[in-house]
Symmetry: C2
C-alpha cells in the first residue's frame, strides 16, 4: 500500500475530473468479495478489485465507498471484526484505523451501503459505478442499483488516470518485472526433454507465490505455440520442439509483469526455427525502437506487420507488394493478435472497463481485420504508458486452411510452401515497455535473453 | 476422468433414489463457468463443480445437464467450438464425443437450456437443482428458475452417494494424499529461522501445481497457530516458535488431501511445547483407534475432548471432574473447532450442499457449544467414509479473556496459569482416515512424522 496522501490525491483528482465532465451525484466503488472455488469457505486466493486498490488501497474483502461529487465527502463501508472472528482470523485493525490509513473521514457498516444508495436514489441523485469485473459485483450492483448502467463519465475519468503511471507505480512494475525475470529463468532452466510440462509450470508458479502474490494470469507454456491460449500442461517435452512460455508475476503490491520467450527444447534452434525466430525478434526490436511519445501504437503494430511480411517473403511464404499485404491484413494469418496491451494493476490493464475505451483514442476506430482487430492498445503514446511489445508468428493449420478455402490470402500466400510449416508451432517474444519523455525503456532490472544467440547461450548454462 | 460406466451407473442410481423419494420432474445440473479474477479473460485456475464432476465427469466450463426422473432421458447442454476458438484454444473434441465419453445420449447447445427449463416449468414439471456454490451459478439459476429453491430430495440423494467413497475414489484420494505427503516434506525441510513464511508457501504450492491441480484449499502456514485461519504469510520465521502447516493437494483427478503438522522452528520442542504437543498427539491417536463402523464421530470427538482435558489437567491448566468438563464444553476453550470433516472431491466434502445435511444423521442435533458446535462430521461411521482426524490445542488470549470475563469456564479453568501460555501459539495434528469394514486406515502411502520424537528426527535430516 502506498502512503495515505497518494489515495487522497487520486480521489480528489477523480472528483475534479467528474465535476469537469459535468457529472453530479455519487461515485460508488465496490470492492471484491472472496471468490468461492468450491463452497463459501473454500475460496480462490484473495484478489482485490484493481480500481478499488488504485483509489482506496485497502486490500480486504467486503468493502465499498461512496464519494460525493457535489459535497466532496467520502464514506467507507466496512465491518469491524467480532470476537468470533478473532478466534479464526486473529486480532484485526479497526475500520476506523483502516479509513485513516487512506484518508477517508467517515465510516459506516457494510450493511448500511444499501440504505445509503437507496436514499440517494430516492433523492434523485445519480450513482456512478464501474462495470462489474466479477459475478459477485454483478449481483451486488443489481441489488444496489437495479437496472442501473455503468457510468461512462466515471469509466473515462478512471481510465485517464490509471493509463498514465505515476513514478511509484513504475517502481512497483519494475519490481514485478524483476520477479517475472526470476520466474522465467527458473522456467528456462527446467526445460528438459522427457519431463511433463506441468513440472515446469509448478516450479515457475512456486517462484511467483514465494516472492509475489502469484502469477498475474494463467501461465501459457506449450509446445504448440500456434494455440494461442493453451492452459493444459500434460504433454511430455519432446526434443526439437519450440516451447512458448508466456507468464508473469503479480507482485505483493499487485502490479503485473508479462513476458514471453520461446525456447528450442533441445537447446539449439534448427535452421528453420532460427529463420522464423529472427523475424519475430526483429519485429520486437523494431517496435521498441519506434515506441516513443507522438507515434500511435497502431502505427507501430502496422510497421511490425510490414517487417514480419518482409521476413516471410524472404522465406518464400508470401509474395507481392509489402504495403498492399499490410493493407489487406495478410500479417494476421501469421499473427492473429495485436502487438501489445496496456499493463499495470491488471496484466491487460483495466480490461474490465472496456477494451476500446482503454486502448483507443477518441479519434481512433478499431479495425475488423484479423490481427489488427485484436490490437488492445492503439493509442498515441505519451510518457507514463506501460505497454507490452509482443510480436509472434504462428502456423495454425486450421486458419491457413480457412484462408486457402475462402481465398482470404489472395495471391499473396504461398500455400504449397506453408504446408511444410504445419508442424512448426509458434514463436512469440514479449517485453514490458515504459514510454518515457524521449523514447522508451524496457521494464525490469535486466532483459531476458531475446536474440537467437542469447537464447541458445542461456540454455547452454 | 473415470470410465463411462462409472458416470452412467451413478446417474442411474441418482434417478432411482429420486424416484424412491417420490420425486418427479427434472434434475438440473449446472457446471461451473470460469471465475474472473480481474476481468472476463483473466480468470482463476479453472475448477469444475464437484457434483458435476461426480455425475458428469466432463472437466470444462459452460456445461449443463437435464436428467428426466420420469422418462429416464439425459441431455447435455454445451457448445462446440468455432473456427475462431480453434485459433485461440486449438482443435477440440466435439460435444457429441464428450457426451459419448460419459454415456449421455442427447446433446443440445448451451443456449437451449433456458428454453428447455422454461418449457418444463410451463408444463408444470418440477426442476430439482443443488444449492449454487459460486456467484455465477447463483446468477444462472436466478435466470433459469426465478424464485426457485434448491431441492432437498436431490441434496439428500447426492449426499447419500458422495458420502460413501467407491474403490476408485479411495484410490484417487490415496494419490492426493501421496502428493500431500510430498508437499508437506518440502515444507518441513524449508523451515529455517530468518526466512519469510511466504518462501515456504511458494515452495509448497509449487509442488502442488507441478504434481497436481494445485492446493485443495488456501494454505495455512503460521507461527500463530492460535489464529485458526491465517492466510497472511509475511512474517519472518523466528527460532523457538511453533509452526502450524495445514495444507493439502488437489490431484489432477480433483480429489483432495488435507494434512496438518506442527513443527518447532528450531528443530527441537521446548519442554513446554512438547508437553502440549504430546496431548494433541494422544488425542489424534485415540481418535484413529476409536474410528470404526458403528461409533459416531461425535462420540469420538467427545472422547478426544476428554483426553485433551485430562492432559491439560495434568499440566494444571484445568481442574475438576473430567466428564463434567466435557459436558460443559470446557475443551472448546482450547479447541474451538471440531475433530474433523468429510473429505473427497472437496476438502470439506459437499459443504456447498449444507453442513448439517452432510455431516449429521437425521437423528443427530448439532450442538451450540464452542468446539462441538463446529464439528462438521458427527455421523455414525460406516465403511467408505473418508474423514479427517485433526485435534488441536490453541491458546487464544482474546478467547481466554472472554471466558474469564463472562465466567464461561466456571471454576474449571486456571486462568492464572494460563497467562503464561499467552504467547504459546497453537498445535494441530491432522491425518486423513478411511473407515474400513473393521476399523480405519490412514490414507496415503506413508504417514507424515507425527509423534514428538518422529517430528524432531525428521527435522534433524
Amino acid at each position: 500500500m502506498f502512503a495515505k496522501e497518494v489515495y487522497v490525491r487520486r480521489r480528489a483528482t477523480l472528483l475534479q475530473k467528474m465535476q469537469e465532465a459535468g457529472a453530479q451525484g455519487l461515485i460508488l466503488l465496490v470492492g471484491n468479495a472472496e471468490a468461492p472455488a468450491q463452497y463459501k469457505d473454500n475460496c480462490y486466493k484473495w484478489r482485490q478489485d484493481s480500481s478499488w486498490l488504485y483509489f482506496m488501497g485497502l486490500d480486504e474483502p467486503l468493502m465499498a465507498a461512496l464519494l460525493d461529487i457535489d459535497a466532496g465527502t467520502e464514506t467507507l463501508f466496512a465491518d469491524d471484526v467480532e470476537i468470533d472472528d478473532i478466534i479464526w482470523m486473529g486480532p484485526q485493525p479497526s475500520v476506523r484505523s483502516k479509513a485513516d490509513a487512506v484518508g477517508v473521514a467517515e465510516t459506516k457498516p457494510y450493511g448500511a451501503l444499501e440504505q445509503a444508495v437507496a436514499a440517494a436514489r430516492a433523492a434523485g441523485r445519480a450513482i456512478h459505478f464501474l462495470p462489474p469485473s466479477r459475478y459477485y459485483n454483478t449481483l451486488k450492483l443489481q441489488q444496489l442499483v437495479p437496472g442501473g448502467q455503468p457510468s461512462e463519465a466515471l469509466i473515462k475519468a478512471v481510465i485517464s488516470m490509471r493509463l498514465i503511471k505515476e513514478a511509484i507505480e513504475i517502481e512497483a512494475i519494475d519490481e514485478a518485472c524483476a520477479l517475472g525475470y526470476e520466474m522465467h529463468c527458473v522456467a528456462r532452466d527446467a526445460i528438459v526433454p522427457g519431463i511433463i510440462e506441468q513440472d515446469i509450470v509448478g516450479k515457475m508458479e512456486g517462484v511467483a507465490l514465494a516472492k509475489g502474490w502469484g502469477v498475474s494470469f494463467p501461465t501459457i507454456l506449450t509446445q504448440h505455440g500456434e494455440t494461442l491460449h493453451n492452459h493444459i500442461h500434460d504433454k511430455v517435452i519432446e526434443p526439437g520442439k519450440l516451447m512458448v512460455i508466456d507468464a508473469g508475476v503479480e507482485s505483493n503490491a499487485h502490479y503485473a509483469s508479462d513476458f514471453t520467450r520461446t525456447y528450442p527444447t533441445s537447446g539449439k534452434f534448427t535452421q528453420k526455427q532460427r529463420e522464423v525466430y529472427q523475424i519475430v525478434y526483429d519485429c520486437n526490436e523494431l517496435a521498441f525502437r519506434m515506441a516513443k511519445p507522438g507515434i500511435t501504437y497502431r502505427e507501430v503494430h502496422l510497421a511490425t506487420a510490414r517487417k514480419m511480411l518482409e521476413g516471410l517473403q524472404a522465406l518464400g511464404l508470401v509474395r507481392g507488394d509489402l504495403d498492399e499485404m499490410v493493407a489487406k491484413g495478410i500479417a494476421g494469418l501469421f499473427q492473429p493478435h495485436g502487438l501489445g496491451h496496456n499493463m499495470g494493476l491488471d496484466v491487460h490493464d483495466m480490461e474490465d472497463l472496456g477494451e476500446n475505451l482503454v486502448g483507443y483514442d477518441p479519434d481512433q476506430q478499431r479495425a475488423k481485420q484479423l490481427g489488427l482487430g485484436s490490437l488492445r492498445m492503439a493509442r498515441r503514446l505519451v510518457p507514463g504508458h506501460v505497454i507490452t511489445d509482443e510480436p509472434g508468428i504462428y502456423f495454425i493449420p486450421a486458419l491457413i486452411e480457412k484462408f486457402k478455402k475462402e481465398g482470404l490470402g489472395g495471391d499473396f500466400v504461398n500455400y504449397a510452401k506453408l504446408e511444410s510449416y504445419y508442424d512448426f508451432g509458434g514463436i512469440r517474444i514479449e517485453d514490458d515497455v515504459l514510454i518515457t519523455e524521449n523514447g522508451a525503456r524496457r521494464l525490469g532490472p535486466k532483459r531476458l535473453p531475446a536474440s537467437p544467440d542469447e537464447v541458445e547461450a542461456a540454455m547452454q548454462k
